[in-house]
């Protein structure tokens, strides 16, 4: 293919990946951030991050202040949880998870005392003179996770940066998902804090430069950030074209540095780290003010919503309370979605809490989600052109429909980032992402099963080996004893013979 490739490359250089979905960011993006007062009850899931669940350190009935730690991190990859307001712990137990599966998850329930009193906090003085490890520790203690939705513990990523040499720290302000504008508002209203966070992160990772990628559909945010960046030579605001999924790590890295992260590698392996702008702001708050992550900015949007806008919400607030504060929903929303419309999760109900990784709640009306029944694939190739990874969604889907999961993997199923571009463009409305997620789930389950049977087999083998060894040792010991006895007897015989001869009268 090499030769043909050379001839064809200039002709077939594919058109830009991705799609241009209807933005629908207005009017929510034009309303300033509003702060939601503490709701009467808050539900704090112990697992709001990638990694091990946090461990509760409070008792039922205990009074806590805002910002006090209620559950500590457990293991290397984990994050603590803090009380988002002052009040009393009233329950520790399972609640419905904000996930379409309706699974239950452990959570701490806090009854707010409506005073919203902060625990005594202390920022880190002169952080830029401190060791990077100290900053990372502070970030870990503050329970900060990737706020773009990945929810990977931020401190682990900072530490990663310090261990593997990082050249470029990228702040992701692209916010490519339609409907969402909380990062946009953050950059417009709190640009200084974001830049301060960027400077702290640069110090913590040892990166040489910081590049902040913002899509060209947010001119106000670009202007605000440019103004705030003034004076930091090593921090640069870069305008990237608005295109979905520009905010995906690998795509943004290519756009900003020209580096293509190899498959099966991390960005850090090529000297790049990507963090969300919201994470940068949270890091500034944690280090300069000592404030743990207890609230976040969220976009409330969708046609079914009375007052779309951006809100600063305490982690643990019920979606129901949030919607009520935003004027409630008009009629029955056809769908409640946590996150953006392209990759967000369908919520099982409004009685689920806001978690750290939640960038928005969409109450979509029936017309917004209206879709035709799926039809047969007409092989139009739109999905292939849209795929930012260069996959063949139609082929993968056909394999999965025939239960040939291995063939789908050979076509690159594991490289699929689940961005939804393919399903978004498909004229036959085939639920491609659903098929891919399903197949990935099946494969993961297989993998787990295999691990389990392997482990069982290994255990059984170890056991039979042990039994064998014990039997062998027993036999050997018996043989040894028998030999010893024999030797003893021979010795005794010889001795008695000797003594006999000795004792014999000469």
């Amino acid at each position: 293919m090499g030769f043909l490739d050379k001839i064809f490359r200039p002709l077939t250089r594919s058109e830009p990946w991705g799609v241009h979905p209807d933005e629908r960011k207005r009017p929510a993006s034009e309303t300033p951030i509003r702060r939601l007062p503490p709701p009467p009850l808050l539900y704090l899931p112990l697992s709001q991050h990638v990694g091990a669940a946090a461990e509760p350190i409070v008792r039922i009935g205990q009074k806590v202040l805002k910002g006090e730690c209620v559950a500590t991190a457990k293991g290397n990859i984990s994050a603590p949880v803090h009380a988002p307001t002052s009040g009393e712990i009233v329950a520790i137990g399972p609640i419905t998870a904000p996930h379409p599966s309706r699974l239950e998850m452990m959570a701490i329930t806090l009854r707010s005392d409506m005073e919203d009193r902060w625990a005594p906090l202390e920022g880190l003085a002169d952080p830029l003179a401190r060791a990077p490890e100290e900053l990372a520790r502070r970030v870990a203690e503050a329970g900060i996770v990737g706020l773009g939705g990945a929810t990977f513990p931020a401190s682990v990523k900072l530490g990663l940066g310090h261990r593997s040499r990082i050249r470029t720290l990228i702040l992701n302000g692209s916010e490519c998902e339609p409907y969402l504008s909380c990062d946009d508002r953050l950059m417009r209203e709190r640009a200084g804090g974001v830049i301060r966070g960027a400077v702290l992160m640069r110090h913590a990772t040892g990166a040489r430069e910081v590049r902040i990628g913002i899509e060209d559909n947010k001119p106000e945010a670009i202007a605000a950030m440019r103004a705030a960046v003034d004076g930091h030579a090593d921090v640069q605001v870069c305008v990237v074209p608005a295109r979905y999924p520009m905010g995906s790590d690998r795509q943004l890295i290519i756009e900003l540095t020209g580096i293509e992260v190899p498959a099966e590698s991390r960005a850090a392996d090529v000297g790049v780290l990507v963090h969300n702008v919201g994470t940068a702001f949270a890091i500034h708050q944690a280090i300069d003010l000592g404030r743990p992550l207890v609230s976040r900015l969220m976009t409330l949007n969708g046609e079914a919503l009375a007052q779309p806008g951006n809100y600063e919400v305490l982690v643990g607030t019920l979606v129901e309370d949030l919607l009520a504060f935003a004027g409630g929903v008009r009629g029955e929303p056809a769908r409640l979605v946590m996150g953006g419309p392209m990759m967000g999760l369908l919520l099982p109900s409004a009685k689920v809490p806001v978690v750290k990784g939640c960038s928005g709640i969409l109450a979509l009306s029936a017309t917004e989600v209206a879709r035709d029944e799926p039809g047969p694939c007409i092989r139009c190739g739109s999905c292939t052109r849209a795929c930012p990874v260069g996959l063949l969604p139609l082929e993968m889907n056909a394999r999965i429909a025939n239960a040939a999961l291995d063939a789908a993997v050979a076509l690159g199923l594991h490289d699929c980032i689940g961005c939804g571009c393919c399903a978004w463009v498909c004229p036959s409305r085939i639920p491609l992402v659903q098929a891919f997620n399903h197949a990935k789930g099946e494969l993961a389950a297989h993998e787990r099963d295999k691990k389990r049977t392997d482990a069982t087999r290994r255990m059984a083998e170890a056991r039979s080996e042990r039994l064998e060894r014990e039997a062998r040792e027993k036999a050997e010991a018996a043989a040894r004893r028998a030999a010893e006895r024999k030797a003893q007897k021979a010795r005794e015989a010889a001795e008695s013979a000797a003594s006999n001869s000795e004792g014999a009268p000469a």
């Binding site: 002709l11 329930t109 498959a263 979605v337 409004a350 989600v369 694939c377 463009v425």
Partner: protein
């Protein structure tokens, strides 16, 4: 009641769809919209064909499409599938088939062709999206091979409302006639005429000079199938499809290049034996095929590289069949041949996956240059 919300408390909430995966929004056109655009693009050339060949052509068009719709409905009934007539694909198949038929072909040709296209060309494969070959071309080739005389009778243009044009009533007689209408004034097409004359040992320039003047005409006033004569209108429709993003440039450009390049070489080498590139491109079904037939989604490759190979193959094969084959026009055969190769082409022309080399292995990480810096 415990203050803890669990799924047990959800009773009062409106039932939400649980299995609706992301994305929660959709864009782009639906299948029906895509088909409608293609029909819109075909409309000018078709109307021109109606005008040029009069009522018999209109009758044939209606019969062919009707046959396709009937056949589609019939098959779906038989196999217990839900009706898909709404997506417009059967209608489009009938439309394309009608455009490729001799304009005054009798009704039974349209009927038979429509059934072959839908039943043999599409439904036996499993319906929309499953067929290997272009249904309209399957029907056209089947008819051409089975009924070579009827399928090569090209009527001289008799525009609607002109003195000689048959009226509606007369047209019914022509359409119903079997096997062919004896009193129609027929004439050879450019490709056919040059082929027969060559076979008789007459060179192309002489053949063109002696032939009827309806052989070749920029404005489309020439003999030919129902939809191919309005060359410029076909081209305009094709450009509209390109502009609206329904098709990409790769296939049409490659088809036309595949015809034009060998034609240039051949004509330069032996003008007495080979038609010029212009004559090739502007006669027969070259443009209709390049823009509307070869670009059929289902039966063409879906990567740019694959589409270039596919299109070029069609072009070359068309030229070869036209120049050396037994039939004066080769587009339909060429399309079917390349359709058969599409799965192979698709297998070898896969896009490169991000972060991987073409052979699927992960890229080598680029060394980190941490020395310079901002």
């Amino acid at each position: 009641m415990s203050p803890v919300p669990t799924s047990a408390d959800d009773g009062a909430l409106p039932a939400l769809p649980t299995l609706a995966a992301s994305p929660h929004a959709h864009g782009g056109m639906s299948v029906a919209q895509v088909m409608q655009r293609v029909m819109l693009a075909l409309a000018p050339a078709t109307l021109f064909g109606f005008w040029l060949f009069g009522w018999p052509a209109i009758n044939l068009f209606a019969v062919t499409i009707g046959a396709c719709l009937l056949a589609e409905r019939f098959c779906e009934r038989l196999m217990g599938r839900t009706s898909s007539l709404g997506d417009g694909s059967a209608l489009l198949t009938g439309w394309l088939l009608a455009l490729s038929l001799p304009p005054w072909a009798p009704a039974w040709i349209g009927l038979l062709g429509g059934f072959i296209a839908i039943v043999v060309g599409k439904q036996v494969f499993g319906g929309l999206g499953q067929n290997l070959f272009n249904p309209a071309m399957v029907a056209r080739v089947a008819l051409l091979v089975s009924f070579p005389v009827v399928m090569t009778q090209w009527v001289v243009p008799q525009p609607l409302f002109s003195a000689d044009a048959p009226g509606f009533i007369d047209s019914l007689r022509i359409t119903a006639e079997a096997p062919a209408h004896p009193d129609a004034v027929t004439s050879a097409s450019l490709l056919g005429h040059s082929k027969t004359e060559l076979a008789r040992g007459i060179t192309i320039p002489e053949a063109l000079a002696s032939g009827p003047q309806t052989l070749f005409d920029w404005t489309g006033l020439r003999t030919g199938s129902l939809g191919e004569t309005g060359t410029l209108l076909v081209l305009a429709g094709g450009l509209y499809l390109l502009a609206s993003g329904i098709i990409r440039w790769h296939i049409p450009a490659a088809v036309l290049a595949g015809i034009a390049l060998p034609a240039l070489v051949g004509h330069a080498a032996d003008p007495a034996r080979y038609l010029s590139a212009t004559q090739h491109l502007l006669s027969g079904a070259a443009l209709l095929g390049a823009f509307f037939i070869a670009t059929d989604y289902v039966t063409s490759p879906n990567t740019p590289a694959g589409q270039l190979i596919f299109g070029f193959g069609i072009g070359i094969l068309t030229w070869i069949i036209r120049s050396w084959g037994g039939y004066p026009e080769g587009m339909a055969f060429a399309v079917l041949l390349m359709n058969a190769l599409t799965p192979v082409i698709d297998r070898y022309c896969r896009p490169r996956i991000l972060g991987r080399r073409r052979d699927g292995r992960a890229l080598e990480p680029t060394p980190i240059d941490n020395t310079g810096g901002a």
